[in-house]
Symmetry: C2
Subunit: 248 residues, 2 copies
Amino acid sequence: MLKVIVLGSGNVGSHLVNLFNNSSQIDLVQWYSRSQITHKKTEVINNIDLLKEADIYILCVSDNAIKELSDKLTFKNKLVVHTSGSTPFQEISKQNKRGVFYPLQTFSKTKELDYTRIPICVESENKEDLEFLKKLCDKINCKYYEIDFEQRKTLHLAAVISNNFTNYLFGLSKKIMLDKNLDFEILKPLINETVNKIHKLDPIESQTGPARRNDQNIIDMHVKMLENKEHRNLYKIFSQMIKNIYDN
Amino acid sequence: MLKVIVLGSGNVGSHLVNLFNNSSQIDLVQWYSRSQITHKKTEVINNIDLLKEADIYILCVSDNAIKELSDKLTFKNKLVVHTSGSTPFQEISKQNKRGVFYPLQTFSKTKELDYTRIPICVESENKEDLEFLKKLCDKINCKYYEIDFEQRKTLHLAAVISNNFTNYLFGLSKKIMLDKNLDFEILKPLINETVNKIHKLDPIESQTGPARRNDQNIIDMHVKMLENKEHRNLYKIFSQMIKNIYDN
């Protein structure tokens, strides 16, 4: 049994706790949270001095809290990792052995994820710890990738673009439809297919739409239809960028 | 058996032909195409004067070709529909009974679609033709929506935003990753989950990421990492729009 302690109860921490609890090969020893929470399966503590012995301590806190929290840890020479896409492991206090355990997934507290094969980016100061991190991924049925800091930052950037910005566009589409009394449900099969396509076709080759076929009449009409200046600007920018790719 | 003729062999026409061929309750009488194509199940013609009798003629051509093609039809008082999201049915020559059969789906020729429950927006000049259009949707197991021109235009706009622009972001993410020797595969589970979420959560409420939590350090770092000026601009615009929503 791998003995794990999770620190932090935000989106990532909460989901990792569930993930570890679902594995019969992981002993989730404790969950440290500053806020008052309870958990039916795991001992929750809010006093950091009560931390017990474990094989790994996973800091699931915001980027700028990693240093402070790791400085507060009273033990030495244990494996301590953070879960940030944009922070080097050196941000963790060097009194411990340091690493990264960055799950590349979008975590909303209110939705249960299907955890199958979440990619987890692992990195460590010492080679032997890397083997431990890979084993940990295996035990929770996740796929690991050895990724260094530069790559991890790039991955995080790509994730923001393809996840956060995409989600914004879904929200914007929904708003535009609701304003005209159209049910967002109508659009969902199209959105599903948009994503299904990436598994079979290159997104750059499979691009469709008015900008792809340089249909300026439709582009102009759509821009006029948008009531918000920022949305008009966004539509124009996207259309121009798409046209730039396919004009060449 | 409903007798159907498809005119046009672009993405929409090609997919509709497959769709009708797969239904035992549809007789796809002919497929008109200006380009030289063959089809193992359907008679293909490229001379419009050879069009036979059918219950419906479906014009799957670009918006600006609808008028010209419909003017060339030599018969009268038949049901003729187009498949455009942004064109009124009045664009079709009035010597025939006019309507719209707009499938809200993204069609790439090279990918076989799972056609189950594609939403089809129907509209017609005469009430009895609307019933026929609904029946046609039923026979091919598609879901129909009675949508007027104003709504259809809005739907098309929302589709461009949530499908075409989203696909552009997937392509951009892929490019950013390839430039750093990262496999786009790593990102696909995240993209899947981004879309799965829309079925369970409101996209505006489930927004995550640096802009959502107003993490200016990450935003600045990501902007710096982008080598292309347009991409930097796009990142800034998205971040600002997301911040604007959640600052309030």
